[in-house]
């Protein structure tokens, strides 16, 4: 009898779901463009125009091109997790994909976990790519002793950013609004977080705000193990703590407010109308 059969084990299902999300990622050109290609071009432009300046931080001086390269590496990891999930999940909701999976025996945590796992993998790949560019073009050095701290930092922080992305996906009613909201959060935050423009003497209020938001601590935590003068070998626990708090808040918010079907009057109705007239 069918009743006697067991459900397939969760781990292979999780890996399959993550693989599915990775496949979707590489087949959505705009996602690849915004996550990797655009930050790469921005990096090339900034470093072509910023000369040989040195950036001074408490541990010493960075060549500006290495500093920016590492910061943008961190930024791509945020794009791959926070921005991508906040963009794509509402689109899939309007396509009915979320509701379709909700109709199957797939456990919810495996479905959501597949999205998060894929996002973290994309983030890690983006960081590796950007750092490889940095090593090749901008004199970034990645000491072996720094790698464990770097790996822990990227995995913990990107998981937290993924949770924040899910929270935005949960809170924003339509797909068209979601991409605007996600960018409206990320881009201003990037400007005060040393990503595109290193802040050398920011106003105190802005400095405090940047340190309470999750992006600046993440940039700091990625830069610390790659510092040209004094690379750290342990993760920046304080900075990671700030990010994890944001992640926990995002997770709680996503769990409480997540919606599986599109809001009435949103994209679904428009698409149905299009289908009926087509």
């Amino acid at each position: 009898m069918t009743e006697a059969r067991r459900f397939p084990p969760s781990l292979p299902l999780l890996i399959r779901q993550a693989g599915h999300q990775l496949r979707l990622f590489v087949r959505v050109p705009v996602a690849v463009l915004f996550t990797i290609a655009l930050p790469f071009v921005v990096l090339l432009i900034i470093n072509a125009t910023s000369g040989d300046r040195l950036i001074r931080d408490p541990d010493g001086e960075w060549p500006v091109d290495a500093f920016v390269c590492v910061a943008i590496a961190a930024f791509t990891a945020v794009s791959a997790t926070f921005t991508n999930l906040a963009n794509m999940v509402p689109i899939r909701r309007e396509e009915g994909v979320l509701q379709r999976w909700r109709s199957t025996p797939l456990p919810v945590w495996v479905f959501v976990g597949g999205h998060v796992l894929a996002a973290v993998v994309i983030a890690a790949a983006s960081v590796v790519f950007m750092l490889a560019v940095g090593v090749a073009l901008y004199g970034v050095s990645v000491p072996m002793s720094s790698i464990p701290a770097l790996v822990v930092t990227v995995l913990v922080a990107t998981t937290a950013f993924a949770a924040m992305g899910m929270a935005v996906a949960a809170l924003v009613p339509t797909a068209s609004a979601a991409s605007g909201v996600a960018n409206a959060i990320v881009l201003p935050m990037a400007l005060i977080s040393n990503v595109f423009i290193p802040m050398e003497s920011p106003p105190t209020a802005l400095d405090i705000a940047a340190n309470l938001l999750p992006l600046r601590p993440f940039v700091d935590a990625v830069q610390a193990p790659l510092h040209p003068v004094d690379p750290t070998t342990v993760p920046q626990w304080g900075a990671l703590g700030v990010i994890v708090l944001w992640g926990v808040a995002g997770f709680a918010c996503a769990v409480r407010t997540f919606r599986w079907n599109a809001a009435p009057g949103g994209g679904t109705r428009r698409r149905r109308a299009a289908r009926q007239s087509g």
Partner: protein, 322 residues
């Protein structure tokens, strides 16, 4: 198994709109036996999709009891998973990413069930062979609905929900979908379908329920509904009784007191009535006494469509009286 596959008692569904709370389903009862094919008919806004969404677990209810295979669709945890493993759903929106192929989608969905059909079996039964490796985004509307059907049945469901499964199909695709439903029926699958197409309901369903304004108007096997609720159309050629208008006047006089309407189709007189025996008797007697010649008598039972239209017209008339 004696307990019904789908059991609904006094279901009430409401939703909020800008005009306030709207009651979409108002005390609906439904009992569908295991292995039965049941068609829910109703106009847009009658409450059929709301009902099905509650059964699928996609909409919450205000009141009433609902059980699918003995499990409340709002159940959580392992009961939820157990139920989802045994049901298949064709939603009105497809819910498959346009960037993947039917083969990829079916492999992905098949992996989550305990006892799925094999990919090749589903591809063959639903007829996806021509486009199994094309991107979903490039499929025609009809091909996409076939994929929806395939995804809904890949888990070998005991209960299948089909919400307007053939909307947008061309006639041959509709025939294929019907064949599939019939073969699943033959396998013992319980099927609840909603449809606008009365022909579809009449062809597929063991029983039909007509709902209006969230209430069950009438239910039963399609043939019984046709017999009990519709007016037959009788037609006859009448010669030797003067001009068409003379004939119409005479027949109208002869049928005085019988509820009927007259119309012409060429030279054939069409008489729509519930009282076919009386009409036959009166017209025959009139023809014998006047020497008129009757030929080509025919009596057609109403289509399910006429039954449906009349039931809804009755409801509208009652509404106008308020």
């Amino acid at each position: 198994m004696t307990s019904p596959a789908i059991k609904v008692n006094d279901l009430v569904v409401e939703y909020m709109s800008s005009q306030g709370t709207i009651r979409a389903v108002n005390g609906l009862d439904l009992s569908i036996a295991e292995g039965e094919v049941y068609a829910l008919l109703g106009e847009n806004g009658a409450g059929k999709t709301s009902t099905v969404e509650v059964l699928e677990g996609h909409r919450s209810r205000v009141g009433g009891q609902v059980e699918i295979l003995g499990i409340d669709p709002t159940a959580g945890g392992s009961r939820r998973r157990e139920l989802r493993d045994q049901i298949g759903i064709v939603l009105q929106t497809s819910g498959i990413e346009p960037e993947i192929t039917p083969r990829e989608a079916l492999t992905l969905f098949g992996a989550v069930y305990r006892n799925p059909y094999s990919l090749s079996e589903v591809v063959e039964r639903v007829g996806l062979g021509d486009f199994v490796d094309q991107r979903v985004g490039s499929l025609s509307g009809g091909q996409r609905r076939r994929l929806d059907l395939a995804v809904a049945v890949i888990g070998r469901p005991r209960v299948l929900f089909l919400d307007e499964p053939t909307t947008g199909f061309d006639p041959s695709a509709r025939r294929n979908a019907w064949e599939l439903v019939r073969s699943l029926h033959a396998d013992g699958t319980t099927i609840l379908l909603t449809t606008h197409y009365l022909e579809e309901a009449g062809f597929l369903a063991d029983r039909v329920g007509v709902i209006s304004r969230g209430e069950m108007l009438v239910e039963g096997p399609p043939r019984e509904l046709q017999q009990a609720h519709g007016r037959s159309v009788m037609s006859v050629e009448i010669a030797g009784a003067g001009s068409l208008s003379d004939v119409e006047a005479s027949v109208a006089a002869v049928l005085d007191g019988i509820s009927s309407t007259l119309a012409w189709q060429g030279t054939r007189l069409l008489i729509t009535t519930e009282e076919t025996t009386k009409v036959l008797e009166r017209i025959t007697r009139w023809a014998l006494s006047t020497g008129a010649d009757l030929s080509e008598w025919s009596i057609e039972r109403p289509s399910l469509e006429q039954v449906f239209l009349e039931l809804n017209a009755d409801i509208d008339r009652e509404g106008d009286d308020d």
